[in-house]
């Protein structure tokens, strides 16, 4: 079996979640790599939309930012951001929204704004970008982020982008069009959500990872699906595309 890093496992797992023909709102970093990996493998008809207004992108290099020129060249359409947010996202055309963040809580609420107090931050993060509205409108949300007690605390410092909000799923009361978080992919395993309590539940663990490892790296006593499935490791083909084509300089997969 090939040697691989946790980031590579995350990217490969996220890519497998995407189906051919789906319309995906792509974020920067690991999701970007995952979407482009899926496009090269089982989902050549994946429609990539970036908040910069590029629709149906076929980037021939891995974009460092979501406004890279390679996203416009050869795309189906380039529209203004007024159109991408109003007509595509608010218009209900997005099947999958990819989000990351610094902190996620058990209900899939995301913080990408601030660690500590808003007015006196310990760490100031970039902020929402399009994440808040993606979380509200995309039909489903997949999150990709590394797991530690800090990134998955009992309570997050700020809700930038709503998941299920709380144990009664308040997003329903707000009339959000999207169904909310469906999957969280970390460097230990994969979580889904309980349909009654809206809480994260461990569904898969990576080869070599134990439930004990998972529990030691999360801020609450997380529920475990019985028995968690072991995720298939990245294939040679997935690793080759990631390493040779998508991120040869290891900018995203540090």
């Amino acid at each position: 079996m090939a040697d691989y890093t946790p980031s590579e496992m995350m990217v490969a797992r996220a890519a497998r979640e995407l189906n051919n023909g789906e319309v995906v709102f792509v974020g920067i970093g690991l999701p970007n790599v995952a979407c482009n990996l899926a496009r090269r493998l089982h989902a050549p008809g994946l429609v990539l939309i970036y908040e910069s207004g590029a629709v149906g992108c076929v980037p021939d290099r891995l974009p460092l930012s979501i406004g890279d020129p390679c996203l416009a060249t050869d795309s189906i359409s380039v529209c203004s951001m007024v159109e991408v947010f109003n007509y595509y996202l608010q218009g209900g055309l997005i099947d999958v929204g990819f989000l990351g963040g610094a902190q996620v809580d058990r209900f899939g609420n995301i913080n990408s704004t601030v660690i500590g107090d808003y007015a006196r931050p310990k760490v100031r993060l970039p902020g929402s970008g399009g994440a808040c509205e993606i979380a509200i409108h995309a039909k489903k949300i997949i999150m990709v982020l590394k797991q530690s007690p800090k990134s998955f605390p009992e309570k997050i410092d700020f809700i930038t982008s709503p998941g299920f909000i709380d144990e009664v799923n308040s997003r329903r009361n707000f009339g959000f069009p999207g169904k909310g978080p469906s999957l969280i992919i970390t460097d230990f395993g994969v979580y889904g959500f309980n349909k009654n309590t809206y809480e994260m539940i461990l569904q898969e663990i990576y080869p070599g990872v134990t439930v004990k490892d998972v529990k030691a790296n999360i801020g609450w006593n997380v529920k475990v699906g019985r028995p968690p499935k072991v995720t298939a490791p990245p294939t040679d083909e997935e690793l080759r595309i990631i390493r040779q084509d998508l991120d040869p300089h290891r900018i995203h997969l540090r």
Binding site: I28, S80, Q90
Partner: protein, 303 residues
């Protein structure tokens, strides 16, 4: 020459005043660094600087002490990390305190839409369930008079001046953009004054031969500046690539205050203008960023 065509120094001198609400837009694409550098050189102060993504350009403006308040929706170096100059200004008041007013992208887009439409506000479906409205009292909620459904609202943004970079313009300021458009059009229509910066000056016939590409009509434009490589390290599709290496390098340059100030000294204060900036980068460096040739098909506008 039309009276609108002028140097960057004159355009910034005339149209950017201390205390102004200023927009230099461009979503990754067509961010006019040349204008930002001139604002720094002319030591403009107390600006309310608005942009979806402050990017390196507002990082530099904040580090140079030009900014009183930042209005934004995503403050980072895309794919790289933090904006250290901005963080020092916001968190430590170095060199001067910068206040923040924060939205999401959709929120900022809607503010420009309202501004461009000359409506007092815009409603949109976002922000509920988020803590952002608790920290920004300009985000409010209303009920739709037709359906009774709840929507967020944001106030119009009408900048004193928007500086809009385009690929090409004629001397009246009819500006054409292709590739990523960001909110260039809305930022222009929302502004009291518009400065168009173009990579290339073209005759009016070139504009009229392809009118669908004109995002900025000259009738809203006060000044036209012709400045090749005005967006570097951002990019102009069909002219030059984004200088991704510089964006990565900026993390090291700006990490501490001294490094960032040294950069400003060497590349902004130390140079009279963009021409000298191009020369300092050198022909070989610029050659590496030169766009390859990917012309569009042409269409027939005949009838």
């Amino acid at each position: 020459m039309s009276g609108k065509v002028m140097t960057m120094a004159r355009a910034v001198g005339e149209f950017v005043r201390d205390g102004d609400t200023v927009v230099i837009e461009g979503f990754t694409h067509l961010i006019c660094f040349a204008a930002g550098h001139e604002i720094i050189r002319q030591r403009k102060r107390e600006l309310v600087a608005c942009r979806l993504t402050p990017d390196l350009i507002y990082d530099q403006l904040a580090a140079a002490g030009c900014v009183r308040k930042l209005v934004f929706s995503w403050a980072g170096n895309p794919g790289v990390g933090s904006l250290f100059g901005l963080r020092r200004a916001v968190e430590e008041g170095i060199p001067s305190k910068v206040e923040i007013e924060e939205y999401s992208h959709f929120g900022m887009v809607a503010r420009f839409m309202a501004g461009a439409s000359h409506l007092p506000f815009m409603h949109l479906k976002t922000f509920e369930g988020s803590d952002l409205p608790r920290k920004n009292k300009n985000i409010k909620f209303i009920r739709c008079p037709y359906t009774g459904k709840r929507f967020a609202t944001v106030p119009a943004l009408n900048p004193d001046v928007s500086i809009i970079q385009v690929q090409r313009a004629d001397e009246e300021g009819n500006g054409q953009i292709w590739g990523l458009m960001g909110v260039q059009r809305e930022a222009a229509f929302a502004a009291k004054k518009v400065v168009v910066v173009a990579e290339e000056l073209v005759p009016g016939e070139v504009i009229r031969a392809d009118p669908n590409r004109t995002l900025i009509p000259g009738l809203i434009v006060s000044a036209v500046v012709i400045e090749p490589f005005a967006a570097h390290p951002s990019y102009a599709l069909g002219y030059y690539d984004r200088d991704n290496d510089f964006y990565v390098e900026w993390a090291k340059i700006s990490k501490d205050r001294a490094g960032l100030e040294k950069y400003l000294e060497e590349w902004v204060y130390g140079l009279p203008g963009r021409k000298e900036y191009r020369e300092k980068l050198g022909a070989e460096y610029l050659k590496k960023l030169e766009a390859d040739n990917r012309p569009s098909g042409s269409v027939n506008y005949g009838y």
